[in-house]
């Protein structure tokens, strides 16, 4: 296999694995956060505004981990510097 094929194969596999493995942790964490928030809401409905706001802020922080993985996988698919470099190399060699 030449360079371009290796780069393409590894990028595709890594992109898929990144988002697949990277969403497991945040999903579990968000599930636990919401379940604890529901429990405390049931125990103290008066504090529902504070609990809801804190829940949303916490969910956003947990979600950002999944967002980082998503950004990495998007970069690998759409803005891959190694792929662009390989393409540029092939174009230069073909143009010579």
């Amino acid at each position: 296999m030449d360079n371009m094929t290796i780069i393409a194969v590894v990028s595709i596999i890594t992109a898929g694995l990144t988002i697949a493995l990277g969403s497991i942790g945040p999903a579990l964490g968000e599930g636990r956060a919401v379940s604890t928030a529901l429990t405390s809401l049931a125990q103290q409905p008066d504090a529902s505004a504070t609990i809801t706001r804190t829940l949303f802020v916490g969910l956003a922080m947990i979600e950002s981990i999944a967002i980082y993985c998503f950004v990495v996988s998007m970069i690998l698919i759409f803005a891959n510097p190694f792929w662009n470099h390989a393409i540029a190399g092939v174009a230069k060699a073909a143009g010579k």
Partner: protein, 239 residues
């Protein structure tokens, strides 16, 4: 398929580009400013007021209440910055209903700029409240060993703000674009709704996090002396 509106070039001269992100950002600024100016031309303080004034008052008082809930005791100092952050990001997300519009916050440039504004504003507000020495000393709390970690956490939470907003907005527009090529009509509409919801939530998250960072930086650590009730008892009420 392009990642954001950065690649949509309206006009180019040399290396100066007018791309979609800049165009949509200025369009949003124009809409916000002109709408506010039109509504606030004739403000009334009695019970008869236009519904637009009512709407703006609801928005402003809701933001003010959120700012005080976070712990900032004088919301009027911060509502300019925090309210603008919220309104800009929320309107950037809400404009997705207009066809042909792409949210400028889906570009890393815009979100990095907003995060840099927060990064600069937090020390500014902190120094304004606590003085330069007091603010710098707060980096060494609770112990001096925490100084590098506090600095790193400042930088990393700025980065996290930028990437969080960028990732949410970009993923929304990208999934709509992908679904449009596969199953037009139903699923893109559902995903647009989800994108609107996450856009509003992310706008709220962005401004609440900025408020929390500012509140952490402006928390004054001096305790006012509580007057003793033994040495100076309250005077007996005159009958």
């Amino acid at each position: 398929m392009r990642l954001s509106a950065d690649q949509l070039i309206f006009w180019q001269h040399g290396f100066v580009k007018l791309n979609g992100t800049i165009g949509f950002t200025w369009g949003l600024m124009l809409v916000l400013t002109v709408a506010s100016w039109l509504v606030t031309r004739k403000l009334s303080t009695d019970l008869r007021r236009s519904r637009w004034q009512n709407l703006l008052e609801i928005v402003v008082s809701a933001i003010e209440k959120q700012i005080t809930d976070v712990g900032l005791k004088q919301p009027e100092k911060y509502i300019g910055f925090l309210g603008t952050l919220f309104l800009f990001v929320a309107l950037a997300a809400a404009g997705t209903v207009i066809p042909g519009y792409e949210p400028p916050t889906g570009s890393l440039s815009t979100t990095a700029a907003l995060a840099l504004c927060v990064f600069v504003a937090v020390p500014l507000f902190g120094i304004e409240e606590q003085g330069l020495g007091g603010y710098l000393v707060s980096y060494t709390k609770p112990t001096l060993i925490m100084l590098p970690f506090n600095i790193i956490s400042e930088l990393s939470r700025t980065l996290a703000l930028a990437v969080r907003l960028f990732g949410n907005m970009m993923s929304g527009t990208m999934i709509i674009a992908i679904l449009l090529t596969i199953t037009p009509f139903f699923f893109p509409v559902v995903m647009t709704l989800l994108g609107l919801l996450t856009g509003m939530v992310q706008a709220y998250i962005f401004s609440i996090l900025a408020a929390v960072y500012i509140a952490a930086a402006t928390r004054t650590r001096t305790r006012k002396p509580v007057p003793s009730t033994i040495l100076d008892p309250a005077p007996a009420p005159k009958t």
